[in-house]
Amino acid sequence: MSARLPLFGFGLFLAFLVVVPLTATNEYELRLFMLFLIYAVVALGLNILVGLTGLVSLGQAGLFALGAYTGAILAVRLGFDLVSASIAAIIIASLFGALLAYPTVRVRGVYLAVITIAFGMIVENVAIEWQGLTGGPMGITGIPKPSAFGIPMTGFRYYTVLAVVLFAVVVVTHNLKRSKYGRAMLAVSQSETAAKSVGLNVTGIRTLAFVIAAATAGLAGVLYAFLNSYISPDTFTFSDSIRFLLMVVLGGAGTTSGALIGAFILTYLPEYLQQLQYWQKFAYGLLLAVVMFVLPMGIVGTAVVVFRRFVPRGRSIDMGNAVNIEAVVRQSVAGQTGSAELVASNLTIRFGGLTALNNVSIRVKPAQIHALIGPNGAGKSTFVNSVTGFYVPDEGRFELDGVNLTGQASYLIARKGLARTFQNTELFGDLTVFENLMVGYQRRLGYTLLDAALRTGRFRRQEEECRRAAISILAFVGLGDFAHEKARFLPFGLQRRLEIARALAAAPRLLLLDEPAAGLTTQEIEELAGMIRQIASFGISILLIEHHVDLIMSVADQVTVLDYGAVIASDTPASVQNDPRVIEAYFGTATVLEQAVS
């Protein structure tokens, strides 16, 4: 049923777009509605950025202006028609979008808000001062009537153009939201660390989201320029950027219908607020504050929550489609097959004066369970963090199947088939259990942005495979009853299991488990031991970091002991257990022990 819901929504919206012009009583009403169609395009693009990646742009008016001026100048001076001017504006706006976003979002999301405000102001300033190109404060007049391929597109025809464009943007943005791209954006906003560990390029995804927001704003700008046939700098101010943002937040960030409702309200509201003069700006601020405090999920978001209170969604999922788990987790991805061998040689990491890892060499043989133990502060997690790219080693190198990965970004290492869990669980808290697994599966989905936008056969096939794999993994770890529960509501023991499941979804060749038994009950630890053995039997190499000696003794093929950042023993579990240096590291020297006893 839920798959049909978007189609029903699209149909309803289409009917709305057809009915409104038929009922419009005068030209002013129709024109206002056409403005709504244009603003809605901006809001839908911004919704991807704000609703999915959790970033804020306060410069959409600048990008809107950039599109409008690009289109107007090309149309007036070079005779571009509606189509070519739109394409040019989209390209220019996207380029500026990438240029603004890439340097900014890789540091801190907050920076994007600041840089976009600045961008909006610069565009306004340039539009005023570069008179030769932009006409200065007077703006550009006499923009030719819109035409496409020589056919005039005026009056109701232009309305049709706007309605078709908006409808296309609704469908495309909604499809993107429900694809691996949308899920990746949500995942990145929840936990950057976890996103990297499943192979997501955090900077790339955020930049993509902003480019989408920029491209739609640029497109809307051209449409505005042709509608108005006159543009000037004072139509594109900071207040307008706030208004665009408010559309998304008021309607309900992350929901397509919310962006439309928000755009509708904020197209018509200013017509009434105009009488308020100075209070108009205050009203925007007040509205923003009221939304944040009273309706933080927006109109649609809140409505969904209320609806779900009366009609709760089942937590479990139909497990009928489960397929063989071994086939699911052993699938070859990008030509990588079989078990992997990890060879770390002479790794050294220093934090200031502290040497956390000192010349550590560890070899995890293919399809083996290799345990890494040591007292607290011995450098175990530091080792995991360095071979997964979260820390860059000061000296030494590590290889996966002979390929040197030292110094590579963590998401690239993850894409080589190295999956991990975290000592302090890192889940995508607001995503459901099922969605967490789908994000873990991400590196196996090969479809492109275009496939996702148009829901091609390739897209559908791969998504179906992804769902099936996720169901199988849920069955394997026993989380089927919680499939539609948000990850952060799971009890702690199950969260740990979900982390392992998410790592498995990536079809890893080497799995790094960072203290998976910490905080688990005895029974849960026994189940975990069984699970680890089973995973190894699929041919996945495992590096297990643990404190629980029983667990290690029962599953490990080899044990390496770290103390003060250095390897002090590496052998079979039985011989390590009797190694005097190991005993000393854990219990102190025999004399100290005797003194304590006597």
Binding site: L58, V110, A113, I242, L288
Partner: protein
């Protein structure tokens, strides 16, 4: 030569204001890992309230003091009601939008009370220009960068040598561990926002005699202060002050030799370029995060 010197002096003056605003961002960020997007409005509040105080007949020193206190209070209230409720969400969108909302409302209210025009703040610092090697400089303009440097040194001293300063650093490093050590984390947030806003208000009072005050002055100064914090490295107090002064000087030269539009373009392009090459800012420390 004379022109260049003139640009340097007036650049240091406006740069000192950027430095003070950026220091505010530094203080808030380094304690709460959140900032106040209405910080520019704290500056505007300081300047406007000082003028209004003089209007009703208060002596200038008292008016300035009250204005700074009001700015400080503004920061504390904002932190309590607009930032703290959203501090625990994984994305920063909550406190960004609430502080922006407060900024918009404040600016609109002040516009209605104060009028939409600019007014100078009378100050003894701009009575008579000094002549230094042929360049005309108001004492006020010399005072601003000096205050910025002094405040920076004072803050660094406070962080190193006072209990509150150390507690603020502890909260920044790990707020849960700090709370377990008996530090009142919320109080530290309140203090950092209050201190930052007080500095903002003071910056407004310092700049108003030179550039005039208006309800709209906060947005652009706040924005540039943030750009300076990005350039200098929001984690480094000396870094943001150096960057602020340098930014001010560069602006004056670009403005003098090219145009005011070029000034904004070049200024923010520098910020983007620095981010591209030095993501942590020129003097910022890389934040090692533990996973």
């Amino acid at each position: 030569m004379q022109t260049a010197l003139q640009y340097i002096f007036s650049g240091l003056a406006i740069g000192g204001i950027y430095a003070l605003v950026a220091l505010g961002f530094h203080i808030m960020w380094s304690t709460a890992k959140a900032v106040n997007f209405a910080h520019g409005d704290a500056l505007m509040l300081g300047a406007v309230l000082a003028i209004m105080g003089i209007d009703v007949g208060l002596p200038i020193a008292l008016a300035a003091l009250l204005a700074v206190a009001a700015s400080c209070l503004f920061g504390v209230i904002l932190e309590r009601y607009a930032v703290r409720p959203f501090a625990k969400t994984p994305t920063s969108i909550g406190w960004m939008l609430t502080t922006i909302a407060v900024g918009i409302m404040l600016e609109a209210l002040v516009t209605m009370q104060f009028g939409g025009f600019s007014r100078p703040l009378p100050s003894p610092g701009v009575d008579k220009a000094l002549n230094i090697l042929g360049a005309g400089v108001y004492p006020q303009e010399l005072l601003i960068p000096a205050v910025a440097v002094a405040v920076m040194l004072g803050f660094v001293w406070m962080q190193r040598s006072t209990l509150i300063g150390r507690a603020m650093q502890a909260v920044a490093f790990d707020r849960n561990a700090a709370a377990l050590m008996g530090i009142d984390v919320n109080r530290m947030f309140a203090i950092s926002f209050g201190l930052a806003s007080a500095l903002g208000g003071a910056a407004g009072i310092l700049v108003a005699p030179v550039t005039q005050a208006s309800a709209q002055m906060g947005l652009i100064l706040g924005l540039k202060g943030f750009a300076v914090a990005i350039i200098g490295g929001v984690t480094s107090a000396p870094g943001v002050v150096i960057a602020g002064l340098a930014f001010g000087i560069i602006e004056k030269f670009v403005e003098g030799y090219i145009s005011t539009a070029a000034r904004e373009i070049i200024g923010f392009s520098i910020a983007i370029l620095v981010l591209l090459i030095y993501p942590q800012g020129l003097f910022g420390k890389r934040e090692v995060f533990k996973v």
